[in-house]
Symmetry: C2
Subunit: 338 residues, 2 copies
């Protein structure tokens, strides 16, 4: 039995806390061990991680805001990184981890396929990762799994593929609070339009999913169309997590399509709104053979994002060094279960 992977949790917001909790739960398997924790929030610094996430017993790992010291002292195998969605805000954090000789698995949506928005950053990260013999990869449930890796896998047994459409329908009312904020639940249509104009509102990563999937298939597009619209509540909806009045925004309908010669080759359709019914993930491959794959009830995002981060750690630790995307790693799978 190899010794447990030493994990540092970098970022202790809601996702980071859930990730740390999952690592602690899996520690009994001796496959992973929480070795350190980093966050800049003064309310968190100095606290035991177990205390922070509401466990009874101490876990002996204290939150620090000094990333370099934590990395130097704990010499982690893998950093689970959950700080922000945007690469230009935090690429230096990734570089710091890589320089410390740690593989990095990050929830940063733009890292799921960084070559398009940030080609220079991607080149630099790849060079740094190779230089230090580590893997850097972005993942999560979406981007990272539901609308890209799963869809790519769905083509695995196809001789030919003409067209792919991917749908994800999420009832934001069944999810943690941040998601409702993210999809604008309860906003007026005008407030939604204002937020949308900032360019950082809504789901981040649909373009990354489209391009990772296309790259995996060897496809390129001459046109990409992206669209973000509000879903307006037709009647008032109330859930344990949210309340939306009639005519208010219930959530988002976000689509992206990749075209060649005016024909849609690849289409991703994401709806996340309070009150959505018959949640599902669906991949439809028009090909030989065709594939009509559906996950009834959908993949529950709150748990699944955490799972993807933790499950990718052992795969990243075994991969060739460099910057990768999910298409480059072995098939994702759970570990240290039961």
């Amino acid at each position: 039995m190899p010794s447990p992977l030493r994990i540092v949790q970098y970022g202790l917001g809601p996702i980071g806390q859930a990730t740390a909790r999952s690592v602690l739960e899996k520690s009994t398997s001796e496959r992973v061990r929480l070795a350190g924790a980093i966050d800049i929030d003064p309310d968190k610094v100095g606290r035991d991680v177990a205390d922070l996430i509401g466990l009874d017993a101490s876990c002996g790992v204290t939150v620090s805001d000094d990333a370099e010291s934590v990395l130097a002292e704990t010499a982690p195998d893998v950093v689970l990184h959950t700080t922000t969605s945007f690469l230009d805000e935090m690429h230096e954090q990734l570089r710091t981890c890589a320089r410390a000789g740690a593989h990095v698995v990050s929830s940063t949506e733009e890292l799921a396929y960084p070559y398009d928005r940030h080609p220079d950053l991607a080149d630099d990260l790849d060079a740094t990762a190779r230089e230090h013999g580590v893997t850097v990869v972005g993942t999560g449930v979406n981007p990272g799994y539901a609308m890209d890796t799963l869809a790519l896998t769905a083509t695995g047994a196809c001789q030919d593929v003409q067209q792919i459409s991917v749908e994800r329908l999420v009832n934001a009312g069944a999810r943690r609070g941040p998601l409702q904020e993210k999809v604008g639940a309860g906003l007026s249509a005008d407030a939604f339009a204002e937020k949308k104009a900032t360019g950082t509102f809504g789901h981040i990563g649909l373009r990354e999913s489209l391009l990772m999937l296309a790259d995996g298939l060897g496809w390129s597009f001459d046109q990409i169309d992206e669209r973000l619209d509000p879903v307006i509540a037709e009647k008032s909806v109330e859930t344990p997590h949210a309340a939306v009045a009639r005519d208010e925004v219930a959530g988002i309908h976000h689509t992206i399509t990749g075209h060649v010669d005016s024909e849609i080759l690849l289409s991703l359709d994401l709806k996340m709104y309070v009150g959505a019914r018959e949640e599902h993930d669906r991949v439809h491959v028009e090909g030989n053979p065709p594939v009509d794959l559906k996950i009834r009830g959908g993949i529950f995002g709150d748990t699944a994002t955490v799972a993807m981060l933790v499950n990718t750690a052992p795969l990243a630790a075994e991969a060739r060094s460099g910057l990768h995307t999910m298409k480059d790693l072995p098939v994702p799978r759970a570990f240290a279960t039961r």
Copy 2:
């Protein structure tokens, strides 16, 4: 653009011919090129592969029964190997390919997870593959995809997994002739029992799927139960490919379960019979989150086996050297499509 992968087709039965055809079709992409063909059948030796598979124009590749010469003369990157289901009958063929410096992707069902039935052969193959810097992997639609790789991928976004059940229901009446023979369609119940007693009848590879999936999850069992029963036709069935009278065998129901402490953790259920309706593949993961994945209409095996072999070629060519199973390779995906 890298130069095309040079492919040798080893074995030109129905699957091998279809694989060669797929490689020829994909040649226009300049990702692959058929470089050679091997078969021992005197009726095939000396013929142009294109002629053999019913294409009009010659492809310039002649079938030879001299494997070593073909490998030496064509120096293939990858051999697509489709000769038999059983490893002890043909492991020397794999070794010959590896010694010639070629990666091998084989449809040999026992190679999909060779460590259980043939641990010594697996060790030897791994050593030979490493020595010559090549990858050897067994794949296909089943084993290789529908009941193992896809099921493993279905757990990718799970924090915990308690139990997995996988179902595949195939209408053998819609498939090529060899499948009906394989499942005993048209036999009497007595004749089925006799064939079953040989131990080489029916679907090969369910045990391999179970164990590959378990290995991917880090699971091991204290008991494995396998069962093969005939499906008896309740009324006569006739399809373009098959005819089965009432009370004759329509096909097989093959199951395998992996247990720990008398509890079933993993269950694979395969039905292939003439007249099966509502074909599907299904993976049900009892976990956190749960996953209920279904492919409506199922994955059409004749095409999909060929696709898995061809699609695995570029992945095998990029992998670390050694003997691998599908859990070790990047997520399967189509290539050179459209």
